[in-house]
């Protein structure tokens, strides 16, 4: 079976952190990509009505070809059945309950061969997350959620001042030292960060900041393209791009993987994976998305050179 594994984005975080807003935002931004959004229950995660074109029990058809299912107590069974039921699905966004540990859920998904974990995204409410993490009952749960994150979306930054926000960002760096932190409001982050760039689309060049004051990750990122030598060792390149200093939030590139054909490298925050890619569509570009002014163009070019076998490493 050489089918490319389906990427799964696990979305976690406590009640009120903005998971529902984020899910609706992603469905609205799918732009032709066929995403299956799995939620614990529609009662707790209401899907915006104008997005729904049909309802069938636990399944909602979303305009534009996406689908939304509630899995209740049957997450594994829902995931096991999905590839047969919806062979057109390209990506899964898995929203977990407010007290679930997204790291454990991601671990469970790895037991299923058709899938790979693309990223664990944890939302945090800028106003309350520190207090929650200190709560007698919930503290360790919140801390374990954050520690598992590849990307932390620090949401509702409009409710705190800059000093408080920066203090929380510093505190998060302690809780989850390798995770990338994206401050935002209304869970508005660039959808490409979570659901990837559309194949063949041109990466957006730097966009202009919408407004001063509250940072808005939807407009504050750069997307860059690099020429990719076909003999780059993806297993070596992955950790360099996923390292905290690279400024990379998401990257995707393809290369020949020894004798095993074409492989794809996916990087999201601190996580990377190398998986078989469909033959034929091998692109020669490495596409990288990062926060504006944090992407180190030269470091990435260096990384590509270092991990390419044609290049003699000087030393």
């Amino acid at each position: 079976m050489t089918r490319e594994p389906l990427p799964v984005t696990v979305v976690g975080g406590y009640l009120g952190a903005g998971k529902t807003t984020l899910v609706n935002h992603l469905l609205r931004s799918a732009d032709g990509r066929r995403i299956a959004v799995l939620v614990n229950d529609f009662g707790a995660t209401p899907i915006d009505r104008d997005l729904i074109v049909a309802t069938d029990g636990d399944t909602l058809e979303i305009s534009g070809g996406c689908v939304c299912c509630s899995y209740g107590s049957d997450l594994m069974e829902t995931l096991m059945a999905l590839p047969q039921q919806r062979p057109d699905v390209e990506r899964v966004v898995l929203e977990v309950s407010g007290v679930a540990l997204p790291g454990m859920v991601a671990n469970a998904v790895t037991l299923l061969e058709p899938y790979r974990i693309d990223a664990i995204v944890v939302l945090a409410d800028a106003e309350t997350v520190e207090r929650q993490a200190d709560d007698t009952y919930l503290g360790d749960t919140i801390q374990r959620q954050l520690a598992a994150a590849d990307l932390i979306v620090l949401n509702r930054c409009d409710l705190v001042d800059d000093i408080a926000r920066d203090r929380t960002i510093a505190w998060l760096a302690d809780q989850a030292p390798d995770a990338r932190v994206l401050p935002t409001t209304h869970a508005r982050i660039a959808p490409e960060l979570l659901i990837g760039l559309r194949d063949g689309s041109t990466p957006r060049r730097p966009a202009t900041p919408q407004a001063l004051g509250v940072p808005d990750a939807a407009t504050l990122y750069d997307a860059l393209e690099f020429d990719m030598p076909s003999d780059v060792d993806l297993q070596e390149l992955g950790p360099l791009l996923a390292a905290p200093g690279s400024g990379v939030l998401r990257a995707k590139g393809m290369a020949r993987d020894g004798s095993r054909g074409i492989a794809a490298l996916h990087v999201v925050g601190r996580r990377f994976s190398v998986d078989p890619a469909p033959s034929g569509g091998a692109s020669t570009k490495l596409v990288v998305i990062g926060l504006r002014n944090h992407l180190d163009h030269h470091a990435i070019s260096d990384a590509l050179r270092k991990t390419s076998s044609k290049q003699e490493t000087p030393c």
Partner: protein, 549 residues
């Protein structure tokens, strides 16, 4: 049977649980209800009657009430029983406990020979390898039974599967590179065949006969469960956590409505993937579908996991072996929201809290809800509540919460709790029945069948003796008297279900539900309470001898 006919049963002794008349020799029954107890002369005043002597040498108690069981005990008996201890099946056959891994394998081999189709799966249940020393059971053990058939055996706790190579292969798990804490790997880098926790278990379940469809809506299983109830003297049993889809409700209504169905089933809707508003609405609709023998309309909520699975939420100092704290199954805001709305609408909620931190959280949520909206006589109950301390029982008493404790744990896992999970001091106070009673908490005790065997008299024995499988006594100060134990498995459990006005004692106006015993539980030595022989039951005036169940 004419509906207005009076039958007067004569018995060796009738233990009524009615303090005004604790003992009697006769009980008069009409229309499936009790007219009264007393000497024959008193009861003759009810008019034309027949005297029935079939219980003349038996002891009658109120029909036993199992306050926390699952009808899936009936379903599990379709699989091969592989537990460490003897267990009686619905036909009354006692299956001897498996003394070793070889015993387990031999029993599976026996079953395997009975299967016709070459690739048919083989399923077992009740496995408890902690009794077989340090050696883990691995797939090679079950490969001795078959390498062609998938084989899966669920542990007594319900939290672990052991499977053979074929089952792993079908589930796509017989491959290198599996990286999951619930799937231990052998030296060859392949899974050993032990699958812990629901995620890993779901993957193989459908290949080894434990798929969800097989377990839900199981009519033969419900019938088997009812026969087990008769053998254990049970006339009312809970089915504590069912998703209760329409087809299951229709099946349960039909089966329990049959003239010879011997037990009243109280089935709770599991709170799962619902908002409080949805759950309460569903409960109220279900309540309207209740019948005499199928009681619906209550909600079961899970707050945390299990102690032996290390998923229960413990307060400081946590697990004795240093395992990280367990998991919350429902957020506190949701629990509080459900309590508030259910109190307002008069819907009964029972909450599963194993660890003492889960108990504390439930107490906080209920206290907050009651402060906003005082509610009288709600009968909300903490189920298991195994680690609650004295202060928590005092709070429960003040808030009107009932406790349904789980003394069977002492026997089956008490040694493990003492040595590994919570350590000696908390193992000694677990399931603190005596503290609950002196604190004024309404008390029930339970089996959680199929986790441990259905049998309230065995559960009462556990609460009275607190003996572990190895013979250790866990906390003599928490032992309760036989009389108190008998009350908890009748009136006590009925109270938690708001059925104590109908059931739980033998007195005028109540249902004619009796446990019919060969031995007198008040005369037999307390350490032999579990050995009381059971003739069967009378349920709503209908005699059900175990011998023909």
């Amino acid at each position: 049977m004419s509906s207005d006919k009076v039958t007067i049963y004569r018995a060796r002794r009738i233990l009524t649980m009615n303090p005004a008349r604790p003992e009697a020799t006769h009980v008069a029954v009409r229309d499936g209800r009790i007219l009264g107890t007393g000497p024959l002369e008193e009861l003759q005043g009810w008019g034309p009657h027949s005297v029935d002597d079939r219980f003349a040498d038996k002891v009658l108690m109120p029909g036993l009430v199992e306050g926390h069981s699952h009808t899936s005990e009936g379903t599990f008996w379709r699989y091969c029983y592989l537990g460490r201890f003897d267990r009686m099946d619905p036909d009354g056959k006692v299956w001897p406990g498996a003394a070793s891994i070889d015993d387990v394998v031999a029993r599976l081999q026996d079953e395997e020979r009975k299967l016709a189709a070459a690739d048919q799966s083989l399923s077992g249940w009740g496995l408890d390898p902690i009794y077989y020393g340090d050696r883990r059971i691995v797939r090679a053990d079950f490969d001795r039974v078959s390498t062609r058939r998938p084989i899966g055996v669920i542990h007594a706790s319900g939290h672990i599967f052991n499977v053979n190579s074929r089952a792993l292969e079908l589930a796509g798990l017989l491959r290198p590179g599996v990286n999951h804490p619930g799937v231990p790997l052998g030296e060859d880098g392949l899974p050993t065949g032990e699958l812990k926790g629901p995620d890993a278990m779901t993957l193989v379940g459908k290949h080894v006969g434990f798929d969800r469809e097989a377990l839900a809506n199981d009519e033969p299983g419900l019938r088997r469960f009812a026969r087990l109830c008769v053998r254990q003297g049970v006339t009312t049993a809970t089915d504590l956590a069912n998703l209760l889809p329409d087809d299951a409700v229709a099946m349960m209504q039909r089966v329990t409505g049959e003239a010879q169905f011997p037990v009243r089933i109280v089935s709770f809707r599991r709170f799962q993937a619902l908002t409080p508003e949805q759950a309460v609405e569903i409960a109220l609709k279900l309540k309207e579908q209740s019948t005499d023998r199928l009681r619906l309309g209550a909600i079961k909520l899970f707050v945390d996991g299990s102690i032996q699975g290390f998923s229960a939420r413990l307060r400081w100092p946590g697990y004795y072996n240093g395992a990280p704290n367990g998991l919350w199954y429902t957020p506190p805001e949701t629990i509080a929201g459900l309590y508030r709305l259910a109190l307002q609408k008069g819907v009964l909620v029972h909450s599963h809290t194993n660890g003492d931190q889960a108990t504390e959280m439930a107490l906080d949520c209920l206290e907050g809800a009651l402060r906003e909206r005082p509610a009288y006589d709600h009968r909300f109950t903490l189920q298991h509540c195994q680690l609650a301390d004295a202060a928590q029982f005092r709070r429960m008493s003040r808030l009107g919460l009932c406790a349904n404790l789980f003394p069977n744990h002492h026997f089956y896992w008490g040694d493990q709790h003492y040595e590994t999970t919570v350590g000696p001091e908390r193992a000694l106070r677990m399931n603190a029945c005596a503290t609950a009673l002196v604190s004024g908490v309404a008390l029930a005790i339970h089996s959680d069948a199929p986790v441990t065997p259905l049998g309230p008299l065995f559960t009462a024995w556990c609460a009275v003796n607190r003996r572990t499988a190895s013979g250790r006594t866990l906390g003599t100060s928490e032992c309760i008297s036989v009389a108190d134990a008998l009350r908890t498995i009748t009136l006590g459990a009925a109270w938690t279900l708001k059925l104590d006005g109908e059931l739980g004692s033998i007195e005028v106006g109540k249902r004619a539900d009796f446990a019919v015993l060969e031995d007198d539980p008040l005369e037999i030595a307390p350490e032999d309470l579990k050995d009381v022989r059971i003739w069967g039951t009378v349920q709503a005036g209908r005699p059900f001898p175990a011998a023909s169940a």
